[in-house]
């Protein structure tokens, strides 16, 4: 496999992300497999951010540590990231000539051609595509797709001239880099989506109708994407005054019968916790997307971590059923957004979906997802009798749910209540209702998603992971097996309740390593508590950066 890593680095505000997305789309149209990650600082201007685009001739699941081509929009990028160049790698520098770099004054070229510097990054994009030896037509087509409707033909043509000029300027360096061959004859996977976008589309397609949130990295992208598509899907999107309002608004909306969701991160989720408990008591299907980031407190706002698993598991005073999902790829994120809503509605209880900055910003190309609106079953009864009891005690623990405004009155109380929903201090009723709520776990456990196993069936060594660590672990398995290691991966995309089937693979393994983006091995501890594993090595990481496949393979060696 020819595997190429391109890194675009510049200050916040220099258009690093825009250029990254332009090239990602271009590579996808060239029939390549693309996987991108982002590393950025918590600031709007300045600093140094970078956008990695990894391309190959087969599907990718992880980022890479080293760079084959560094596009440096700032001199600091050369100094800081030049060290991470792979063997034979090159630096394309937007500035004056200096030793060891291919220097092109992107801004100067743009100014000369168009009279302004705004198209400097298009010059760079043209240079990149040419350096990698690809035809320019797909880049031109992307430029037309972006600018024709918004800015008109003249702007498209100016951009094309800039890209063309960038390509001409790197002609002397042609053939210096070895990039994967464009997918001749392979159907191009032109659909690209990020983790955050996939969550948003998954929720929208499953029929979410109400979104209340307070912006917080790294989940803000879900909120803004839902706002962008709200008209198409008929969603009411409201920015709440704080996360306490967000969760209580969502719970109110679910009471009235509308699938609702909140997006947040650790600190915001901390404020929502009383609301999580309320949803547990009222038995309402609140769904929260928790984009984890390194804590405690404000921590590293724009970096990645898997540190809030135990927090989410135990969030909410008292005892009540809850499900936790943790997708590992944009495809899983899209599918699990629906599953999260379905579980919440079927069992009338809060569900949390764990994400993080790595998954949020991870973008890859794939066969198009079906984003058609196909609303979930809300499990509503429409013909309750007049003596309807909201909390009728049932064997499954799930009481028939009616909506206010229908034939019966619907009474819900955060106090302990009797079956009719009214406040009570009858302690035997308390036990009956607590038992009823807890019984929902029987069904939820039986339906818990089994972990996905990847790798040889007979492998005795196992990497265990959850959430966004899916891709790096999967790549590590491939890397190690290509050297004859005999290792497989077990990935949990539902981390609570834990599927009993997880135990089968775990018991057969002779060596188990749990790979987690935290310091204490939170999931390993949960597996031990569940009696699914006895001995388990830990591979942890909590420096704010995601794992890579090569890193895991190296650390296991």
């Amino acid at each position: 496999m020819v595997d190429f890593n391109l890194r675009i680095a510049g200050a916040a505000g220099q258009g690093v992300e825009t250029m990254g997305e332009l090239l990602t789309d271009t590579f996808a149209h060239l029939g390549l497999h693309v996987f991108t990650t982002q590393t950025y600082m918590s600031r709007i201007r300045g600093g140094l951010n970078w956008f990695d685009i990894r391309i190959a001739d087969r599907e990718l699941f992880s980022g890479r540590e080293q760079t084959d081509l560094l596009v440096a929009l700032r001199p600091e990028a050369v100094e800081l990231l030049g060290k991470e160049l792979a063997e034979g790698g090159r630096i394309l520098f937007g500035g004056d000539a200096r030793e060891g770099v291919i220097a092109i004054d992107f801004e100067g070229v743009a100014k000369e051609l168009t009279g302004a510097t705004v198209m400097a990054n298009t010059v760079a994009a043209g240079a990149v595509v040419a350096l990698l030896g690809y035809e320019l037509a797909p880049l031109f087509a992307r430029l037309e797709a972006i600018f024709l409707g918004k800015k008109g033909r003249e702007v498209v043509e100016a951009n094309v001239r800039c890209a063309q000029r960038g390509a001409e300027l790197v002609a002397p360096h042609a053939g210096q880099l070895r990039a994967p061959e464009a997918g001749v004859g392979r159907p191009a996977l032109q659909f690209t989506i990020s983790g955050n976008e996939a969550i948003a589309y998954g929720l929208a397609a499953a029929g979410v109708k109400f979104v209340s949130a307070y912006p917080m990295t790294p989940s803000t992208g879900i909120f803004t994407m839902l706002a962008r598509i709200h008209e198409e899907y008929g969603i009411l999107v409201e920015q709440a005054e704080d996360e306490i309002a967000a969760i209580n608004m969502a719970i109110g909306a679910t009471y009235a019968g509308v699938p609702a969701v909140c997006t947040t991160s650790g600190g915001g989720f901390a404020l929502m916790v009383e609301g999580v408990s309320l949803a547990g008591m009222l038995e309402l299907p609140a769904v929260i997307v928790l984009g984890q980031r390194p804590g405690p407190a404000t921590g590293l706002p724009t970096r990645t971590a898997q540190q809030d698993l135990r927090f989410a598991l135990h969030a909410g005073h008292g005892e009540f059923p809850k499900a936790l999902y943790a997708p590992g790829t944009p495809q899983q994120a899209f599918a699990l957004a629906r599953v999260a809503l379905e579980t919440a509605h079927k069992y009338q209880t809060p569900v949390i979906m764990l994400s993080d900055q790595f998954l949020a910003d991870m973008r890859k190309n794939m066969a198009a997802l079906d984003t058609t609106l196909r609303p979930i079953d809300r499990h509503i009864i429409t013909d309750p009798s007049e003596d309807y009891l909201r909390y009728a005690v049932t064997e499954s623990g799930v009481s028939p749910r009616a909506l206010p405004g229908g034939p019966a009155l619907v009474v819900m109380d955060s106090d302990e209540h009797t079956e009719d929903g009214h406040i009570t201090e009858d302690l035997s009723a308390r036990v009956r209702l607590q038992d009823k709520r807890s019984r929902k776990y029987d069904g939820m456990r039986a339906e818990a998603l089994p972990p996905e196993r990847y790798g040889p069936e007979d492998a005795k060594e196992l990497l265990v992971c959850w959430g966004s660590t899916y891709g790096p672990c999967r790549e590590a398995v491939d890397r190690l097996n290509s050297r004859g290691r005999g290792i497989a991966m077990l990935h949990f995309s539902q981390v609570w309740p834990i599927s009993a089937q997880g135990g089968d693979g775990l018991r057969r393994a002779t060596r188990v390593t749990c790979v987690e983006g935290n310091q204490t091995g939170q999931f390993a501890g949960m597996l031990k508590e569940a009696g699914l594993v006895r001995e388990c090595a830990l591979m942890t990481k909590y420096d704010g950066l995601p794992f890579t496949g090569e890193e895991i393979a190296r650390r296991l060696a």
């Binding site: 509308v258 699938p259 079953d377 003596d387 109380d413 406040i423």
Partner: protein
């Protein structure tokens, strides 16, 4: 047959003589007079003595968390704006714990009705100061008397151009009924009705007698669209306390500006397209 029964006849946990009884009775009477379909009525509350009121009624009930009646009610109303959503809350619940929601929802202007039982004291926790306690009010916690000036919900509501701002007194059921009815009939958005409600157990200062000597119905000549005069009325407190409709604004409601609600209720949209 729940709906055939009277609006309230339950075992009630309030102290004998509590101002809350008058609020409950008056609400029942007005709802009957208006012939409001109780199946379309949702009573929302947080925690406190006032927040127990929904349990003493036959209506849809959402009794949520302390201080959080407002966001829950907003969620309910936006999910189904054909429901009549009424909050019954106390001064601690609404102006203290829920203060930020109060400030922000005056701006948001969702068409919910907010009835605040304002007794200037914490009842359920036994007699501490509330945000509306007067200066010098002595309690088991504020042993040397309250030193922070009282929160003025009406002045803040007028300052934020709240669409309906009124005050009434639990000791004057006729006046209270008129104000409740006006609030329930208000169609422009958020309606705030602050109700002076004597607490006979924990507030020995602001008694029925104390309020009776001070409340003065606002003169018929007052134009509720005159914001400066409304603000002056809202600031009036002490020897004379004005009661009545203080302010009414004509700005559009939140719901009327949402494209997702243009074709009907959100919950209706789900029913059309889904299961």
């Amino acid at each position: 047959m729940t709906l055939g029964k009277p609006f309230f006849d339950m075992d009630i946990a309030w102290c004998p003589g509590c101002g809350d009884y008058s609020i409950l009775r008056t609400l029942g009477k007005i709802l009957d007079e208006m012939q409001l379909d109780r199946r379309k009525l949702v009573l929302v509350s947080g925690i406190g003595q006032a927040a127990k009121l929904p349990h003493y009624t036959r209506a849809n009930v959402f009794n949520g968390l302390h201080g959080r009646a407002l966001p829950a009610a907003v969620g309910i109303k936006l999910a189904n704006h054909e429901l009549e959503v009424v909050i019954t809350s106390g001064d601690g619940d609404m102006y203290g714990e829920g203060g930020n929601h109060f400030i922000q929802n005056l701006r948001r202007n969702v068409g919910i009705k907010v009835f605040v039982h304002n007794n200037q004291v914490y009842g359920l926790t036994k007699g501490q100061a509330s945000p509306t306690s007067d200066l010098g009010f002595v309690t088991p916690v504020q042993t040397e008397g309250v030193v922070s000036p009282p929160f003025n919900p009406l002045a803040i509501a007028v300052a934020e151009d709240c669409s309906f701002v009124a005050r009434s007194f639990a000791g004057d059921p006729a006046h209270l009924g008129r104000m409740m009815r006006a609030a329930l009939e208000h169609r422009g958005g958020f309606a705030l009705l602050d109700i002076l409600q004597p607490c006979v157990t924990f507030n020995k200062v602001n008694t029925y007698q104390w309020y009776r000597e001070r409340v003065r119905p606002i003169d018929d000549s007052h134009d509720p669209s005159d914001r400066a005069k409304a603000f002056a009325l809202a600031l009036t407190w002490g020897d004379e306390i004005p009661i009545g409709l203080i302010y009414r604004s004509t700005r559009p409601s939140f719901e009327s500006q949402q494209c997702a609600l243009r074709e009907g209720t959100l919950v209706g949209r789900h029913e059309v397209t889904g299961a």
